[in-house]
Subunit: 243 residues, 2 copies
């Protein structure tokens, strides 16, 4: 028995999110089916975390245990033979059995992609979110309040069961390039809908519907479900996971 | 009767190219259906040029004649109501009846998008083309030979009926950013498959299968169908058309 770590990317548009659910087409289901065919045994995969319906991944990390002893390239290309082209295994490595895709993760980075346009654009459909003109200085200032250790309960949707809502944010930065706005956020962990709630609030700051002061207060005075706004799933990409 | 100019973008993946063909789902068909519903009359559109199956557009330009006198925003949003989200009208303007989307075009720019990776990536499926490592210096040199007026017959697929195979290239440039390689080419017109044949040859130069000298000879010694290589449609985007 050995443990294999995979890096996987996917376009989440056509799936009901990462996690296996009865009767639904999910990314985990597709990956487990492909790996089970390749390994000729039932394979269960553990991911660094779920992604919701419509959310994409550039570098999701998963692990699984197998009795097979294929060369590493087989776990990449052999699996890809059984996958649709909107899910791809990018690399494989053998890891110690103490490695756990979820519990060993030290930090994760997400990017949320937006474009400024009066009209919705076909080339960004399901891949990025249309926004109006925004005050990037105000957003930059709001971003600075996210850095460090905070209780992010204000930016969590209820319904999740977590021991603590305290997380440490290492990076929160809006970058503009070629007409796209990319919001990068790196933290030691994320609460349910945390990135999408932060983005929704930052965009409200950017169009003047929320002051930078109020944003800061939401960070400093944690209150679950105090912010009902959730940015659409289609702009969100899990960029990478560090161990 | 007045003539309306539209700027349109689309993801070509699911269509049999631009042009109406019996029994096929095409972008022109979808756009004409949407405009005919909006205008309550049969609308025929003329584009700056066809795009092949799988090719995308960021700024395709079309014109059509109509008896309607809607406000311009109606031709944008009204049409979009009848279109799938992989085809969008971005803007509309009233133009003189001497304006012709194809014949009035002064120059067009295409971009061909590639990414360097050992494995194919889901997030670029149908949107960009995987390549191996390339010698960008050799490609830059080859690009310089494309500039100016040349007979580009070597870079045309047969089967097209054109008066002349002479075209003037104003820009031919490979730009690397964020792991993507984007090849921009601007000219006063393009032959059938010209961009895809140029890209295929440039990539052969980039991996050492064609010398820069041979590339230059192909430009200087026009010979239809002397180069069988055609880069895949999915990396190609019609970026804009200038009048």
């Amino acid at each position: 028995m050995r443990r294999i770590k995979l890096v996987v990317d996917y376009v989440g548009t056509r799936y009901h999110g990462w996690q296996v659910q009865p009767g639904k087409d999910t990314i985990q289901k597709r990956l487990e089916e492909a790996l089970s065919l390749l390994c000729k045994e039932e394979i269960n995969v553990v991911a660094s975390g779920r992604t919701d319906s419509g959310v994409h991944a550039v570098g999701q990390v998963v692990h699984f245990d197998t009795n097979t002893e294929y060369g590493l390239v087989a776990y990449v290309r052999g699996t890809n033979n059984y996958l649709p082209d909107n899910i791809r295994v990018l690399s494989a490595s053998v890891v110690d059995e103490s490695f756990h895709a979820r519990f060993s993760a030290k930090q994760k980075t997400y990017v949320y992609v937006m474009y400024q346009s009066k009209e919705e654009r076909a080339i960004y459909a399901n891949r990025a979110v249309r926004i109006d003109e925004i005050d990037t200085n105000a957003i930059d200032k709001a971003c600075s309040y996210l850095l460090g250790e905070h209780d992010f309960a204000s930016f969590m949707s209820s319904g999740s069961d977590v021991k603590t809502t305290v997380r440490t944010v290492y990076r929160a930065e809006l970058i503009k390039k070629d007409g796209l706005y990319e919001f990068y956020i790196c933290a030691n962990g994320f609460l349910y809908n945390m990135v999408r709630k932060i983005v929704a609030s930052l965009l409200r700051v950017g169009v003047g519907k929320m002051s930078v002061v109020e944003f800061r207060e939401r960070v400093e005075n944690p209150d679950i479900n105090s912010l009902p706004y959730v940015a659409p799933a289609e702009g969100l990409y899990l960029l990478n996971v560090e161990y």
